[in-house]
């Protein structure tokens, strides 16, 4: 097992996340945690008048994989339509992460997408951020 899941880009994104923060008056926002390991991610999205992602921000706490995944995902969906966001394939996100993951870690990797889609589909936001460094 020399496949190194901690390739340079993952560590960089963990230390210097992209789109980290929050948006005032987002069109949708959602937060969820992975109760097995305590990873938590919140994503805020603002849409433009053509229903495209105009602005996206995320906050969270968790392992390098879950947090890097949120940076990669939010970067990728900028300018995409709401329908494209709803249909965003999980394979695509795993491809962006680009490292082989065990089953347990796939959950970490896909938490951001789960949160994004729940928000996109208009599911009411269940909670407030519990954990911050």
């Amino acid at each position: 097992m020399d496949a190194n899941i901690y390739r340079e880009q993952i560590i960089d994104l963990y230390e210097n996340p992209l789109n980290y923060g929050e948006i005032e008056n987002p069109d949708f926002t959602y937060e969820e945690d992975n109760p097995l390991c305590g990873d938590v991610i919140r994503i805020d999205v603002r849409l433009d008048d053509q229903n495209r992602v105009a602005e996206v921000a995320w906050r969270g706490d968790g392992c390098a994989i879950s947090q890097a995944s949120a940076s990669l995902l939010t970067e990728e969906i900028k300018g995409k339509t709401l329908d494209e966001v709803k249909a965003f394939p999980s394979e695509k996100l795993l491809e962006l992460i680009g490292v082989p993951l065990s089953m347990a870690r796939v959950k970490c990797a896909l938490l951001s997408l789960k949160v994004l889609k729940a928000g996109a589909y208009g599911i009411p936001d269940p909670g407030t951020m519990r954990t911050h460094e």
Partner: protein, 409 residues
């Protein structure tokens, strides 16, 4: 003389390579312990030579199976110094022990306005059954706080134990902070207000001598799989007068004396609480595990773990950015939970895994405790009869390596 190398030879799995050329360093016994060959063989022997149902056959195999099933109960009774063998109830695991007491005793004895006292250290198994009971009955759950070092705020017991308290259920050894609690003192405090006391011994029974009479507890539960035995079986101990007056938990075959179309008469203890064909192979395996631990001597086991834990505590303390959860010294069992600044526990566990080192990462089924400590997760290394100082050195080196992967200074 405690010979750890000879003990390691008893555990076939310790010769496993988890990846080619990478031997196993198993530091996750608090989640589930590995099994000595004698336990594996005892279960094989049962299935190969005398498997049959218990308590009902007149044939030879059923008689043998019944004898071994009940002989294991006798060994367990001796192991925890229970006054009578009938006070040892086979359940699925410690979790089922708590559920049994919550359903059978709780539903008959807890009412609106009553209080159940737990502590902030508890595992979900000793929280959720009481939450369900309290909601159903309109009772209140309270939690004895911990201090920042992970020990209980004993001096505040008076605030939390009142005449409304009907039960105080607490862990004897925390699966996260490692805290060993003063069981007898807590039991006496519960009794002084007329409450019963239940002890979670899941992290105690594998590591230290247990004496239910010295503890004077009313109920005590533990799991086989954390103490060299198989999964799927655990033990509930209870005081006889309580077990006798409690209604059955599960119902069906084997737990009855007589059934008519109109009703039933429950069986005697302990079978009243053992409905259906029981866990026969598992009981045989647990009996073999008790024999194994007894052959090492629980005082010797505790002493060995104490030395390993002290060594690990010192070695880990030198790692930059480490935060060790829980107390120092004699109040700690054989495990160390920690966080490393700049590294999530999941990432630590993943990097260590590539070196063959198995640790646990997460909240260890103790989410409220983690919230109390302001943490979302911790990494946990736990030690057992076969843990060596060399393995602790490997752990320490791997943690330094993990920091370098994340470029931490």
């Amino acid at each position: 003389m405690y010979d750890v190398e000879r003990i390691r030879d008893d555990f076939p799995i310790l010769k496993t390579e988890v990846y080619p050329g990478v031997p196993l360093v198993y530091l996750d016994s608090a989640a589930s312990s590995q099994k000595p060959l004698t336990v594996i063989r005892a279960m094989d022997d049962y299935y190969e030579h005398y498997h049959a149902n218990v308590h009902r056959g007149v044939h030879r195999l059923s008689e043998l199976a019944t004898t071994e099933y009940e002989a294991a109960r006798e060994k367990i009774a001796r192991f925890v110094n229970a006054p009578e063998i009938e006070q040892i109830i086979y359940v699925g695991n410690a979790t089922e022990g708590f559920n049994l007491v919550a359903y059978a005793w709780g539903r008959a004895n807890i009412g609106s306005g009553d209080e159940i006292l737990l502590t902030e250290l508890e595992h979900h198994a000793n929280i959720v059954p009481w939450q369900i009971l309290a909601e159903e009955k309109g009772a209140t759950l309270r939690y004895l706080p911990i201090l920042d070092d992970g020990t209980l705020a004993i001096e505040r017991l008076g605030e939390f134990l009142t005449e409304r308290t009907k039960l105080f259920s607490f862990t004897a050894a925390s699966n996260v902070a490692g805290t060993i609690t003063p069981v007898r003192e807590l039991v006496d405090a519960a009794h002084s207000v007329g409450a019963l006391a239940m002890v979670d011994a899941a992290q105690l029974a594998p590591h230290m001598p247990v004496d239910v009479q010295a503890m004077d507890c009313d109920f005590l539960a533990f799991s086989s799989h954390k103490m060299c035995g198989p999964t799927g079986i655990g033990i509930l101990y209870g005081k006889r007068h309580l077990l006798e007056t409690m209604p059955p938990f599960m119902s069906g075959g084997d737990m009855i004396r007589r059934v008519t179309f109109d009703g039933f008469v429950p069986n005697d203890l302990p079978w009243k609480f053992e409905a259906g064909t029981p866990r026969i192979a598992e009981a045989v395996g647990l009996g073999a595990a008790i024999d194994y631990l007894s052959s090492l001597g629980m005082d010797a086991v505790h002493e060995h773990e104490r030395a390993v834990t002290d060594y690990a505590f010192e070695a880990l303390s030198d790692i930059p950015g480490i935060r060790i959860i829980g107390p120092l010294g004699s109040q700690r069992g054989g495990l160390i939970s920690f966080t490393l600044a700049g590294l999530h526990p999941h990432d630590i566990a993943e990097i260590l895994d590539k070196k063959g080192i198995a640790i646990r990462a997460g909240h260890h089924c103790a989410m409220p405790l983690h919230q109390r400590l302001g943490l979302s997760a911790t990494a946990r290394a736990s030690f057992y009869v076969h843990t060596t100082f060399e393995e602790i050195d490997q752990l320490t080196a791997a943690l330094h390596h993990a920091r370098s992967v994340f470029k931490l200074k």
